[in-house]
């Protein structure tokens, strides 16, 4: 049943008892043409685009827990595409273009809210960095405005422009903003299932069957399954899956944390990022102040980090927004992010034939969801890296052709 206001009203007469399942819980079949491992936004989206754009049938998404339960449901929901390097900009901007039509396309409101994203600059060096990125974005066709201090203070009420590191300016991407994270997984799942994709939850992959260097199927907690092609999209467990297939990745899995305040009436209408003061903040539609904390430097699969990462962002947050001092933290949580040396993802082939991987999004995966899913679907469908995916191969770590967003901009995601 189509989701619409009309149907909502109609269904209210039957007390909403006639809504169907958004997605069902089918049994795992014996064989699929394509299996996507990982039921987050990227994995579900991949299955959706495989079915929709490449007309493929007989696809399954295997999720070890419940869909959207990994980083999709644990991030601070920021979306932007103002990356420095052409390769990243193309990929992330492809995502933003898709975000703009995603609610309509999926018939599921993902609440993409383009409320504008400010990267604050506090030093001369920051200004050089945002100017460089702003020009690069502009010439790549990505919206970018370089603002001076006065413009920033006018646009962001209550911000402290004269702290220890006074605000000098900002890079504004108006098309940036936030979305409702859970809705992305659920919307893709519902749309994918409508196209015939099997979504299998509580199905953990325990082994990858490989014959003569080619993947043939998977061992799971729900039994064996054959597959002609397998796409791994297991953020937080990329190395674990790669190890099953017999190869290593240039990845470390580390805890990343975030927190929200109690809900309050609207006070912050845009997304703020500051490297010098280490703040990453927005306000959700529910009214919670959503704050991203840093990632710990140690490897962990426990979905919890050290408390000092939370504490360390409190000084900066209150420094930048003194009016937040009396607000209260409602909830803090952690996720596992797979970090690559250049902070860019890995999308493409693996040493195993017909086994593909999409991972290493580090702290920046959510914003890329539709773009990543779309380009990975093309890669899996055609068997060759898509044009957009090509620069993000594993091989760049041998050739040295890194897409070094980390070194270039030192920008947190």
């Amino acid at each position: 049943m189509k989701y619409s206001l009309l149907n909502l009203v109609r269904n209210s007469f039957s007390y909403h008892e006639n809504w169907q399942e958004a997605w069902s819980s089918p049994e795992l079949k014996k064989e699929y043409d394509i299996i996507i491992v990982g039921g987050g936004g990227h994995g579900l989206g991949t299955a959706y685009y495989l079915a929709k754009e490449f007309g493929l049938k007989n696809i399954a998404v295997l999720e070890k827990g419940w869909i959207g339960g990994g980083n999709t449901g644990r991030n601070t929901t920021i979306i932007r595409s103002n990356y420095l390097w052409d390769e990243s900009a193309a990929l992330y901007n492809h995502a933003v273009n898709l975000w703009e039509g995603l609610s309509s396309e999926l018939n599921y409101n993902v609440m993409f809210s383009q409320r504008g994203l400010f990267h604050l600059a506090h030093t001369v060096h920051d200004m050089q960095e945002i100017t460089r990125r702003g020009y690069s974005n502009h010439l790549n066709g990505i919206d970018a405005e370089i603002l001076d201090k006065e413009q920033v203070l006018k646009k962001i009420p209550y911000i402290n422009g004269d702290g220890r590191y006074p605000i000098m300016g900002a890079l504004l991407q108006r098309r940036g903003g936030t979305a409702r994270h859970d809705a992305v997984a659920w919307g893709y799942a519902r749309a994918a299932e409508n196209l015939g994709v099997d979504i299998i939850q509580n199905c953990e992959v325990k082994g990858i069957n490989i014959t003569n260097g080619t993947v043939t199927g998977l061992e799971t907690t729900r039994g064996s399954v054959k597959a002609k092609k397998v796409g791994l999209v297991p953020a937080g467990h990329s190395s674990v899956l790669a190890n099953m297939a017999g190869f290593h990745l240039p990845i470390n899995s580390v805890p990343l944390q975030a927190l929200v305040s109690e809900p309050i009436k609207p006070i912050l209408d845009c997304v703020i990022m500051s490297n010098a003061v280490h703040v990453y903040v927005s306000q959700s539609d529910k009214g919670e102040i959503v704050v991203g904390a840093g990632s710990d430097a140690y490897n962990s699969y426990s979905q919890r980090g050290s408390f000092d990462m939370i504490e360390h962002i409190m000084g900066p947050l209150v420094e930048l927004f003194p009016i937040f001092s009396r607000l209260k933290m409602l909830r803090q949580w952690g996720g596992i992010v797979d970090v690559t040396p250049d902070r860019s993802p890995i999308i493409g082939k693996t040493p195993v034939e017909n086994l593909f991987i999409n991972c290493g999004w580090g702290t920046g995966g959510f914003k890329a969801t539709p773009g990543s899913a779309h380009t990975f679907a093309e890669t899996v469908a055609t068997g060759e890296p898509s044009k957009m995916a090509a620069p993000f191969s594993i091989d760049r770590h041998y050739s040295g052709a890194l897409v070094d967003e980390a070194a270039a901009a030192a920008v947190a995601h």
Binding site: H16, T131, V318, S325, R326, M329
Partner: protein, 1002 residues
């Protein structure tokens, strides 16, 4: 009418100390010891606020920190606090509070229209709509955002202060109810260092409100005695008003202590709150349990309250919140409240879901003249701003239908009790594993983490005597684990409560007059307005897992984090899925236990203490002489020194020309400096730098580039050989710490056999850099030594006395001028600076800042690592092949140069750019394109890294990284600006001035 619900006696309030306060603008009276909730109830105010989604009127549900409904906006202006729980706010003179989430008033709230439309606003309705037209979400969102949120943030800076404290102890006890007190006393008597915390102002927990007996004393007396002993012991710290909020690995516990925020006009020297960071060897959790609401139709009206809360209001605050009371229960324990209320003069009717109650209860009801309806359900409630009547009906034996007619009775207070849920939130945060217990129909601790105990009702044990004996043993055992083994007497002999909680008869929801899914308001999460029908809807639509149901319906996500709602939601899911609750699972409990103030976590790390400022020894002089400062890392560096209201451009021009034509002086003290010693120092430098260091003579200086192992330049600087095995390394100001750890990393982890010792000496030296044609004359006037070109040639260092102070003078140049870097111990820095300035007067010595330094070095084509490089440039990309040794077998980064991409010919190379119009100063960061289209996108081939007007040359100069730039000198390239203008520039060599280096060398 004031305090019409106040009892004449009883409770912990002080009736001799009345307190005036305001709620929604109206003045009321309460007493010292009241909470805002108890004082409002005393004044018969039940309507406190409006709910989140449907804006339904809400009152006071509980008496503690689990309160979901009674949230208020506390205080005004800069001291205002949103979402404060009325049940926890201690009353003080002048307190002002108001209702939230309502307009124009809590009584007449426009937002309540939502309630009328609630039928089309089920869980997750927003996922299904607001999608048309596709671009209109921002429009809808504007209104949704305004409807959401609860209270308001202050609009001014917080005038209050917060402090933080580290604390270490042997045994920490969380919760000072009778079990916590017992454990703490046992541990303390055994000799352990004990910390006991409790969130309430008055310690003692729920039994403060009971008729329980311990060791044949009234519980209250026993609590008093125990507390007084604990307070008297030097090895015990007792903290009231202190909530343990987070339980992290290795028994790391955070706690928030209210210090003055419950006190009138807190302009005291004390902080508002103190944030405790506690590391305890052993932790004993004794947090008790929360009473569970019953899920029935209309269970959310003001005047509907937890039975235990009424018990607390009566016993502790002397407030009888209603006179004609109905108690709706499924267990024995709640009868205590009925008895208590009757003893205070109320009329009580009990509606019990159970068909059979024990003889003991029947007798109790007879004795106390309590009217009872067994096997009955409350099917609906009535009253618009407060409950005034309820309808009840008898249930069939299987509880699936009704028998008999519905009866409506008047009541002014409906109490409910659905059993008890142990407060397992902190336990679960600690990674403890839970299991479902059928006896109490709730989750209890199952697998504990290391060095942890859970006792009493917190552990699901509702038998008082057994709980106290367990607590005693836990205290002794925890102390023993920490080496405190004093033998102690078993000080618990007897304990009992009038009605103990053993079990309850649980129904997932109570049948109402309408089917539960047919628009019936069976609330589960009161604050977020989640009803039983929402859970049904979520399950029906496939949001089956607990996390999906939670996120789809938002149950348990309100500011109380589901303390009253979680178990009820799970029971309904279990009912729908036809699975035991234990198999349905539970969501993750996340810190903090109760919302925790941002400001307290920030502590003193704000304002002037936000980040340290690093200042050079000459800083005050710069300030006195009008310098504008630039932040470079934590350093404050003079950016330029405007004179007579000069603008930056004029000041920099003046400073540049002074340095080129006479003498300029720069405070270069921030430069990173590392003292390197040891027999293997040269060998070490050979591996660290790209060039060769073996043959450097003593006293000679050499410029070096450092690459990381990826072959990318990451720092540079001049290193000087001071002695046989002694070097002085300089680094960039921002990179000093990074380089230091880089050196240590290789010495400590890779080349363990090397004898090299590195010491950071950045702060130890003040560095005055004088440059310009007159700099030698000036220095000569300050020293007795011969410093001519033979005795102190370019790239040499001499230890000489300057102004009578032992100094190291380096003849190195970052400006291309004749230049001396005078290093003196920092304690003489200011003295020497003053002397140099004085002696320099005759040369019109001009202090210059970082901007002038940047212009001067750019004229010479010297790079700045971090500005002209970005972590993706090799030495060869920077045209610095000359500094990369071809002979050395190995150095850090070398191997990476020959990888296919790194060895590629057409990488980006450093070039110079001269704009063809000789006027435009290109923006640093603008990009070079091969073809300028009318509109983006345009293919980029490089970017401007440095760009200035050169006062020396009289026209702008720029440096850029340009694709294949080495082979493109002489080409014309295009730089499109943001405003659409396209600037033409010619690619050149990056050295613009004095290419032969005559000025610096002579």
């Amino acid at each position: 009418m004031f305090n019409r619900n106040r009892l004449i006696s009883g409770g912990s309030i002080d009736r001799n100390k009345p307190i005036n306060f305001k709620f929604n603008g109206q003045t009321f009276k309460g007493y010292e010891g009241d909470t805002l909730a108890s004082a409002l109830l005393a004044n018969d105010v039940h309507l406190i606020g409006r709910s989140f989604k449907y804006h339904r009127p809400r009152g006071i549900l509980t008496s503690g920190s689990e309160e979901p409904n009674a949230l208020v906006q506390l205080n005004k202006e800069s001291r205002t606090e949103p979402n404060a729980r009325a049940t926890e706010i201690e009353l003080y003179e002048g307190l002002e509070a108001s209702s939230q989430n309502c307009w124009p008033s809590v009584k007449y709230d426009i937002g309540a229209l939502n309630n009328l439309f609630s039928r089309i606003l089920p869980a997750g309705f927003y996922y299904k709509t607001f999608m048309w037209p596709p671009s209109a979400w921002m429009f809808y969102e504007y209104f949704i955002r305004r409807a959401a949120g609860l209270g308001e943030a202050p609009k001014e800076k917080n005038p209050d202060r917060y402090e933080q404290k580290f604390f270490y102890c042997d045994v920490m006890v969380v919760g000072a109810g009778v079990t916590g007190l017992t454990a703490a006393l046992a541990a303390a008597r055994s000799g352990a260092n004990v910390l006991i915390v409790d969130e309430k102002p008055e310690m003692g927990g729920y039994l403060l409100s009971s008729k329980a007996k311990i060791n044949n004393m009234d519980a209250k007396e026993w609590i008093k005695e125990t507390l007084s002993e604990l307070n008297s012991l030097s090895n015990v710290t007792v903290l009231n008003r202190t909530t343990a909020t987070g339980y992290y690995d290795y028994n790391y516990i955070t706690a928030l202590q209210k210090v003055t925020n419950h006190i009138e006009n807190s302009n005291s020297k004390l902080p508002r709150e103190r944030f405790w960071r506690i590391r305890s060897k052993e932790v004993i959790l004794a947090q008790g349990a929360f009473e569970r609401p019953l899920v029935f139709s209309g269970n959310d009206r003001p005047g509907i309250m937890m039975a235990s809360a009424a018990q607390v209001f009566i016993s502790q605050y002397g407030v009888l919140p209603g006179n004609s009371i109905t108690l709706f229960t499924n267990n024995d324990h709640a009868y205590t409240v009925a008895v208590e209320a009757i003893s205070k003069g109320a009329k009580v009717v009990v509606i019990d879901l159970r068909s059979n109650v024990s003889n003991e209860i029947t007798k109790l009801c007879e004795q106390n003249k309590i009217e009872t309806y067994n096997s009955h359900a409350v099917t609906s409630t009535h009253g618009s701003k407060k409950v005034n009547a309820i309808t009840l009906q008898e249930l069939s034996n299987d509880k699936q239908s009704f028998v008999g007619d519905a009866v409506t009775i008047n009541t002014d207070l409906l109490l409910m009790s659905g059993g008890w849920n142990p407060a397992v939130q902190l336990f679960s945060q600690s990674r403890g594993k839970l299991k479902y217990d059928d006896q109490i129909s709730s989750f209890i601790p199952d697998v504990l983490v290391d060095n942890q105990y859970v006792i009493g009702t917190n552990n699901g044990n509702f038998n008082l005597k057994q709980s106290l004996i367990d607590s005693l043993n836990a205290g002794i055992s925890a102390a023993k684990e920490t080496g405190n083994k004093k033998d102690i007497e078993e000080f618990i002999s007897e304990a009992s409560e009038p009605q103990e909680f053993t079990t309850s008869e649980v129904v997932p929801y109570v049948l109402g007059s309408k089917p539960v899914t047919h628009g019936s308001k069976h609330f589960i999460d009161f604050q977020n307005d989640v009803t039983a029908s929402d859970i049904f809807l979520a399950q029906r639509e496939g949001y089956i897992s607990v996390e999906h149901t939670k996120r789809y319906t938002t149950t348990g996500m309100a500011t109380d984090q589901g303390k009253t709602s979680n178990v009820n939601a799970l029971a309904i899911m279990s009912h729908i899925q036809k699975k035991p609750v234990g198999e349905v699972g539970h969501t993750t409990f996340r810190p903090p236990y109760v919302p925790q103030t941002f400001g307290a976590m920030a502590g003193r790390n704000v304002d002037q203490f936000f980040d340290p400022q690093r200042l050079t020894a000459v800083h005050q002089w710069h300030k006195d002489n009008g310098a504008v400062f630039e932040d470079v890392g934590q350093w404050k560096r003079p950016y330029f020194y405007p004179k007579n209201k000069e603008n930056m451009k004029d000041a920099v021009n003046r400073e540049c020309l002074a340095a080129r034509n006479s003498v300029g002086i720069l405070d270069a003290s921030t430069l990173g400096k590392i003292d390197i010693q040891g027999p293997d120092a040269a060998k070490f430098l050979n591996l660290i730098y790209t060039n060769a260091w073996s043959k450097l003579e003593i006293g000679a200086c050499r410029y070096g580039l450092m690459c990381n192992e990826h072959g990318m330049v990451f720092d540079d600087g001049v290193t000087t050989r001071i002695g046989e095995n002694h070097y002085h390394m300089t680094t960039t100001s921002g990179g000093a710490a990074r380089v230091m750890s880089w050196l240590e990393e290789f010495l400590q982890t890779e080349w363990l056999d090397m004898k090299v010792y590195c010491t950071s000496v950045t702060e130890q030296w003040t560095v005055l850099s004088i440059c310009g044609p007159k700099s030698r004359e000036l220095l000569a006037s300050l020293t007795d030594e011969n410093i001519d070109n033979t005795n102190l040639p370019y790239m040499r260092m001499r230890p000489i006395k300057v102004c009578g102070i032992e100094a190291r003078v380096f003849r190195i140049s970052f400006t291309g001028e004749l230049s001396f870097e005078i290093n003196v111990p920092a304690r003489y820095g200011k003295f020497v600076w003053d002397k140099v300035m004085e002696a320099g007067k005759q040369y019109k010595i001009t202090p210059y800042g970082t901007e002038t330094m940047h212009v001067l070095r750019a004229e010479k084509g010297f790079i700045i690592v971090g500005q002209d490089t970005d972590g993706s440039a090799t030495p060869s990309d920077l045209n610095m092949d000359w500094i990369v040794s071809k002979k050395k077998e190995d150095f850090l980064g070398k191997r990476s140069f020959v990888r296919s991409d790194t060895a590629r010919e057409n990488r980006k190379h450093l070039v110079g750019l001269l704009v063809n119009d000789k006027k435009t100063v290109l923006p640093e960061g603008s990009h070079i394109v091969d073809e300028a289209n009318k509109k983006p996108p345009m293919k980029m081939s490089g970017h401007i890294t440095s760009s200035y007007h050169s006062p020396t040359l009289g026209y702008p100069i720029a440096m850029a990284m340009l694709k294949n730039g080495k082979n493109r000198h002489g080409e014309i390239v295009l730089i499109p600006l943001m405003n659409g203008k396209v600037i033409e520039a010619t690619v050149t060599d990056s050295v613009f001035y004095d290419k032969e280096g005559a000025r610096q060398n002579d």
